[in-house]
Structure formats: C-alpha cells, structure tokens
Symmetry: C2
Subunit: 106 residues, 2 copies
C-alpha cells in the first residue's frame, strides 16, 4: 500500500485529526472523543498518517501522544507552487488591464 500525503488528507476525518493535534499532541482516546466513531477507527487513521510521516508517536507509559509533523504539510504547499505562479500571472494581467483602463480614462 503506497501512501502519499494527498491520499492522507483526502479523508475529512483525517483532516480534522490533523487540525486537532496541530496545537497540541493527543492520545488516540482523546482524539476519538472528538468524533462520532470508535477509537479503533481513529487508530487506523493514525496509522495512515504515520505511514506518510504526517504525525509522530511519542510513548509515555501506556499512553501514546501523537504529534503533528507540520513540515510535512509543506509538500502540499510545494505542489501548489506551480499553480500559484499561474494565478499570480493572471492577477498581474488583470492588474495591467485595470491600469490600462485607468490610463485611457485620463
């Protein structure tokens, strides 16, 4: 099963988990309390997130705190970069158009 980050964030529950632990690391039980699902289901989501290195487990006695590896999210940012260039170009074109219209009105 080849996992990648795009597949990882495709599921809304996983996105919610990511947002939830972004501020502070949490245990599976604590996470599951926020959702209408079983701890085991959450556990499966966590496994997927671990597999693509979006989160990291930190063992503390019998509890495991999962922490977001926020840098990994930059991979999405990087993918968006190619399009950001395009939409900035279009914005500039619009900007130029507006400038030209303004000039003509003078």
């Amino acid at each position: 099963m080849r996992r990648d980050i795009f597949q990882a964030i495709a599921d809304p529950t996983r996105r919610a988990i990511i947002a939830l632990i972004a501020l502070q690391a949490m245990t599976p039980n604590a996470i599951a309390e926020h959702f209408d699902t079983t701890r085991q289901a959450v556990s499966k989501h966590l496994r997927i997130l671990i597999e693509c290195e979006l989160i990291k487990p930190e063992h503390k006695g019998r509890e495991i705190y999962y922490q977001l590896e926020i840098d990994k999210l930059k991979e999405i940012d990087n993918w968006l970069e190619q399009f950001r260039k395009i939409w900035e170009t279009r914005f500039n074109q619009l900007d130029n158009l507006l400038a030209t219209m303004k000039k003509q009105r003078k």
Copy 2:
C-alpha cells in the same frame, strides 16, 4: 457521491491531468495520450474534476476542451493557511533563538 477537492487531488493521475491542462485547455483524447490508460478512464477522472468544479468543459464542434479552474485550487491554499500560521510562528521562534545566540556571542 459527495465530491470534494481534497478527494479530487488524491489520485495521482488526476493531479497529472490538472498540471497538464493548467497551461492550456485540452481534449480528452489529447489528455489520454499522455497516460498509459484508456480515454474512457481519463473521461471518468474528468467527470470527477468537473463535479467539484476544478475544470470546465468548453464545447467546440464535436470536441470538448477542458480548462482548469485554477481559482478552485485556492481552497487548498486556504486550508493550509491555518498551518502556515503555525509554521511561521515556529520559524520566528527559531529566528529569535538565532538572534539571541548571535547577541550572546558579541
């Protein structure tokens, strides 16, 4: 079938299609030539991309040109925003740390 943009970009072929038509609109046949798959499979991907408004068909005779609705990608950018804030904060913390170290060395 509720589609959202995160699910749409989860598939690598769809991401490749998006990147391919980002520069210029293309027909299904033209797109399919770039992949090791049938035109029909591409067609199904296009349907999903249409459903979540990532692309727009433009009929021209018997051909259909699909164009990227690049603004839709900003939804991903918006989702990243919440994390961008966090990673910028961390960067600033690192920045402050480095500044402090520099000062101490003087």
